[in-house]
């Protein structure tokens, strides 16, 4: 996302978790899906909900609420899975709702304040103020660090 900073505006996808709005660059978003049937993968961190069949590709799914340590909630009609493509892999993010696609002026993005809500600040690359909205820009490379073998309590 950093290379986008030189441009005047950037296109972001805005989604909601609890009452906060977050934004990620539209460039890395592959698609937005309604909830599909998820296969649980044992012995992974709680925020890894499992894997889905995304048009023939097995894609892991992360519950962003749990990743950020927020209270989890049952999925409903507005729950969406945002499929993002990072350098090495695709991951689906479970969010409460995907609200909007916005063009935000780059100079509206400010470095993160010391404390933003309850989300760990490593995950945040900045905060953008657009009108009445306050958008939290996510640093997905940090949010989606690969999951190494978590438990090796071999039998």
């Amino acid at each position: 996302m950093t290379d986008k900073l030189n441009q005047k505006e950037m296109k972001v996808i805005v989604f909601q978790l609890l009452d906060m709005e977050y934004a990620i660059s539209v460039d890395i978003v592959q698609s937005i899906e309604k909830v599909l049937s998820i296969t649980r993968v044992p012995k992974t961190p709680a925020y890894v909900k499992g894997v889905i069949n995304l048009r023939g590709i097995v894609t892991p799914i992360v519950d962003l609420r749990e990743r950020f340590g927020l209270t989890s909630k049952e999925m409903d009609d507005s729950t969406r899975i945002i499929i993002v493509t990072l350098d090495e892999f695709d991951v689906g993010l479970i969010v409460d709702a995907a609200n909007d696609v916005l063009d935000i002026p780059v100079n509206a993005i400010e470095p993160q304040p010391e404390v933003v809500g309850s989300v760990e600040s490593d995950f945040i690359s900045g905060v953008a103020k657009v009108g009445k909205h306050l958008l939290v820009m996510l640093n997905l490379d940090k949010v989606l660090e690969p999951v190494k073998r978590v438990t090796s309590d071999e039998l």
Partner: protein
């Protein structure tokens, strides 16, 4: 010129040529007198030079050029093939490989080659020292060097070969009189005379221009002949309207040496063989081309094809399950046909992805040579069955484990020459690498006639590192002892050497093989050598599995791990050390409850009197996996979980079932210790 579209081809072909160079150089080391081999290497180097120059990779071109010079000197028996020379040439090939790899990975292919060029130069000059001292003084005439013709590679070769056969080459500069009327006629006459005395290989200007009288008064002809310069001059002067004729011997520095240094006798005996070999090779090449038409296909495209086909298999599975629900005979028939056709398609696609293990094996001879020298051992590597084909995915993975095994065999297996002689073995150790098909598997074996596994030493070590207890050690069979060296934390080399035994040990090899769905075993006779056997599946992408149900979740267990399925009574379960075991045909095997292992949330904990058990094996160890129910056997497409979820415990991958759901594949190897 935009060459980017040729880049891929350039890289592929360069690799092939470099590989050919490697192979032939090693062959040359064994038969230093076989000049046909040198020709092969020369040809590869020459092509490479041409290609790299066209693509603008000058460092490669420079290095290959120097290599060519050395090879040429060898070919002309100016330099004798020695290990030192081959070392340098092989190093040059190494450098070239690195440069090509650099280009392949998007680099510039630049590398500092000056040092290597120097040593190549030294070799070349070293061989040619005699030439300079003995440089014969030939007719140095009025014509200056600028006037002399320049020759391309082909013409050079022709000239140098004719020298070998006792011919000499001259440049004849003819000047017609100013008032000459029929220039073309005179030219024709000159050519006729010259053609009677020898062979014209080049003229300046070109023949067409001479015929059209499109030149001034002078023209130059290069001639290969057995006649003297003076005789030629006199003959040409007989043609009327000729002002003057100058005959000078062809001399570029490069050719001079060829001409002067060679003892005539030797050349004559060698030249025919090399020419013979060349014509033979030419014939063979053309034969191969017409008999076996192939096209190069980018491997990525094959992967895409494979992926699409996998989708088809998934849909086929779906179709089958729908058909079995609907019971429509016409639908059933169609589904059956689709199943058959896609089965055939599957075998063809899988076949297309098969490549000979040669691609992995062919780097070993060079490695063994180098290693043997580093270790001061004499080792002969024998490769059998290099044409055996394996799936590309397996090929990609198998390289490193084999390297490890070979290093191990050379370092720990084969003894030093002195030791071998003392034991009454031939001084040179033999390592045999063998590949063959058997059933649905490919076997790769590495056999050495070295020291074998020393029972006492291995046991002592194993006890010391806590792999076995002293009591248990007594009762182990020789085979079991040998297998101890595959255990993790085991490394027999007393000293940690550079070659192998950096503490990683053979367990890494074993793990890699097992992660590929294969087995590895070892047989060893002390004092007589060891045999490592690796068994691999033909393909990794489509496998047969048994689908089982755990509560509501579906898991797949690879059929290759399953011995059988059984239904047991809960009363048969025994307890040993907090571990549930059952008696399975006289063997006590551990019972693992998959529901617990996979932490599946309990929905109903009603206890049955009967349990469904899948008996799986890892090598010779067995275990029983308790599942809720069996669903059935199915061909599935193996998919990875992706890089985000790295190494999930006891799950080797995933697959997509007919209903579109993802099922996880159980890694039995991780479950059995």
């Amino acid at each position: 010129m935009d060459t980017s579209q040729y880049l891929e081809m350039f890289i592929d072909e360069s690799k092939e040529h470099l590989q050919a160079c490697n192979e032939h150089l090693l062959e040359l080391e064994k038969n230093p007198l076989n000049l046909a081999i040198v020709n092969e290497v020369f040809r590869s180097a020459h092509t490479l030079k041409g290609m790299s120059a066209t693509m603008g990779y000058e460092d490669i071109a420079d290095l290959t050029h120097m290599m060519e010079n050395v090879l040429d000197a060898i070919r002309n028996s100016k330099i004798r093939v020695t290990t030192e020379i081959l070392d340098v040439v092989l190093q040059a090939v190494d450098y070239l490989e690195e440069m090509v790899m650099d280009i392949a990975s998007g680099g510039t292919g630049k590398k500092d080659v000056t040092k290597l060029v120097e040593s190549l130069n030294r070799i070349e000059v070293g061989g040619a020292v005699v030439a300079e001292t003995a440089a014969a003084v030939v007719l140095e005439d009025e014509v200056s060097h600028e006037d002399s013709l320049s020759y391309d590679g082909y013409e050079m070769t022709v000239i140098s070969q004719s020298f070998e056969q006792g011919f000499s080459a001259f440049e004849i500069n003819v000047k017609l009189r100013d008032d000459c009327l029929l220039k073309a006629a005179r030219v024709y006459m000159v050519f006729e005379i010259l053609e009677k005395s020898g062979e014209i290989i080049k003229s300046e200007p070109k023949v067409e221009r001479l015929e059209n009288e499109d030149f001034n008064e002078t023209f130059t002809v290069a001639l290969i002949t057995k006649e003297d310069a003076d005789v030629l001059k006199a003959k040409v002067l007989k043609v009327s309207e000729i002002e003057s004729v100058t005959v000078i011997p062809v001399k570029t520095d490069y050719l001079m040496r060829d001409a002067d240094e060679e003892p005539a006798k030797e050349t004559e005996s060698i030249a025919p063989t090399s020419i013979d070999a060349e014509t033979k090779k030419g014939k063979r090449n053309s034969g191969v081309q017409s008999g076996n038409k192939t096209i190069r296909v980018n491997i990525d495209r094959l992967d895409v094809l494979m992926n699409l086909f996998e989708e088809l298999i998934i849909d086929r599975g779906r179709l089958q399950s729908i058909a079995s629900e609907i019971h429509n005979p016409e639908l059933n028939e169609t589904v059956e046909r689709i199943t058959r056709v896609s089965g055939d398609l599957q075998s063809i696609i899988l076949n297309m992805r098969m490549i000979p293990v040669e691609t992995v094996f062919n780097r070993f001879p060079k490695m063994v040579r180098q290693l043997a020298r580093d270790l001061n051992k004499k080792v002969e590597l024998e490769i059998i069955g290099a044409e055996t084909e394996l799936d590309r995915t397996v090929i990609d993975e198998i390289g490193d484990p084999l390297v490890h095994l070979i290093r191990n065999a050379l370092d720990h297996g084969i003894e030093s020459p002195a030791e071998r002689v003392a034991k009454g073995k031939p001084e040179e150790g033999t390592v045999t690498l063998r590949a063959y098909h058997s059933g649905n598997h490919v076997f790769i074996e590495l056999e050495d006639d070295g020291a074998g596994v020393n029972r006492e030493r291995v046991l002592a070590k194993a006890i010391k590192s806590g792999i076995v207890t002293k009591e248990a050690a007594e009762s182990l069979t020789d085979r079991q002892v040998a297998e101890l060296i595959l255990a993790s934390g085991f490394s027999t080399a007393e000293k940690i050497s550079d070659v192998s035994g950096r503490g990683v040990g053979l367990d890494v090899v074993k793990n890699t093989i097992e992660s590929l769905g294969g087995f590895m075993s070892i047989e060893s006779k002390e004092g007589q050598g060891s045999l490592f056997q690796v068994q691999l599946p033909l393909t990794l992408s489509i496998i047969s599995v048994m689908l089982v149900e755990l509560k509501k979740e579906v898991f797949a267990i690879p059929l290759s791990s399953i011995i059988e399925t059984a239904i047991i009574q809960t009363s048969e379960i025994m307890n040993a050390h907090n571990q549930q075991v059952i008696d399975f045909r006289g063997n006590i095997i551990p019972l693992l409850n998959l529901t617990e292992i996979f932490e599946i949330p309990e929905r109903n904990s009603e206890s049955d009197d009967y349990l469904s058990v899948v008996i799986v094996r890892k090598g010779e160890r067995l275990a029983g996996l308790v599942v809720d129910s069996f669903i059935g056997q199915q061909e599935i497409v193996l998919k990875s979980l992706g890089d985000y979820l790295q190494s999930v415990f006891a799950i080797s991958g995933a697959t997509i079932l007919g209903n579109g759901q993802v099922a996880l594949i159980v890694d039995c190897n991780a479950l059995i210790k």
